[in-house]
């Protein structure tokens, strides 16, 4: 008989596989949000949309078995956070550190995909 713990563990495994499978789209969404923000780096709303998406990726990565992605997202979140005061004050940032952190996130997402089995593949 399957216990409640086992049912939750199976659902966690299923959600983790789905998370990994959807990582390219999620990272692409971060890239798109970053492109939109860099077009208008003084736009607080664009900045907050980007920051929140990165924050979600950080949390999902740690919950769904991708600590490297979570770490890279945290680094990107911290890089963005360093600009928050500048943007609110109306000063435009030089986002070199942010772009570097974005590259690291892309790398971690690729590695997570490489390590993970294809959830659509037959057992």
């Amino acid at each position: 008989m399957t216990t409640p713990d086992e049912i939750v563990a199976m659902e966690l495994a299923r959600l983790s596989a789905t998370f990994v499978a959807q990582l390219p789209e999620q990272v692409q969404a971060v890239e798109d949000d970053m492109t939109a923000w860099l077009d208008e780096p003084g736009d607080v709303e664009r900045f907050e949309i980007l920051s929140h998406r990165v924050h979600q990726l950080k949390g999902s990565g740690s919950t769904f078995g991708c600590p490297g992605v979570s770490r890279a997202a945290r680094a990107l979140e911290q890089s963005l956070g360093a600009f928050r005061g500048e943007i609110v004050a109306g000063r435009l940032p030089a986002p070199v550190a942010v772009e570097s952190a974005m590259t690291e996130l892309q790398n971690e997402a690729r590695q997570a995909r490489t390590r993970s089995p294809d959830p659509e593949a037959s057992p």
Partner: protein, 137 residues
């Protein structure tokens, strides 16, 4: 009114997948009844009918964050006295002092293991009940 046994948890988390696995864990492993809400507005819609024993809130959410959600829930009689637990990765001393000023009873630190979350919530509830008992005595 506070029950001796924890039964109803009002849970607010904007990430749908995390909301799903946490709710599932609390319901299936902990045998709690959970009202899972994706936003402050959803929580305010259900809180009076649900009459929660405990509030479990993500801190960083778009539009309305956890602290603001808590303050709005506190204005409802049904959630005025329920202990509040935040889920967050922001646990530096300055953050914890802020949560304490808000009346948050305890904090679950991210990342957390969904499979042991029910045990952690049970411990927090026991701690809360013990403190209530001590205060009453």
């Amino acid at each position: 009114m506070v029950n001796d046994a924890l039964q109803r948890i009002l849970y607010v988390e904007d990430d749908a997948d995390i909301r799903k696995i946490v709710s599932m864990s609390l319901e299936m492993v902990g045998d709690y009844t959970v009202a899972a809400c994706g936003s402050c507005a959803d929580a305010l819609d259900v809180v009076d009918d649900f009459d929660p024993d405990l509030l479990l809130l993500d801190v960083m959410m778009p539009d309305v964050d956890g602290p603001t959600t808590l303050s709005r829930l506190r204005r409802r009689a049904s959630a005025a006295d329920a202990p509040a637990v935040f889920i967050t990765a922001k646990v530096q001393a300055v953050d914890m002092a802020h949560y304490k000023r808000l009346g948050v009873f305890d904090v679950i630190v991210k990342p957390f293991d969904p499979l042991v979350l029910s045990d952690r919530i049970g411990q927090i509830w026991q701690h809360y009940r013990n403190r209530e008992h001590d205060d009453a005595g």
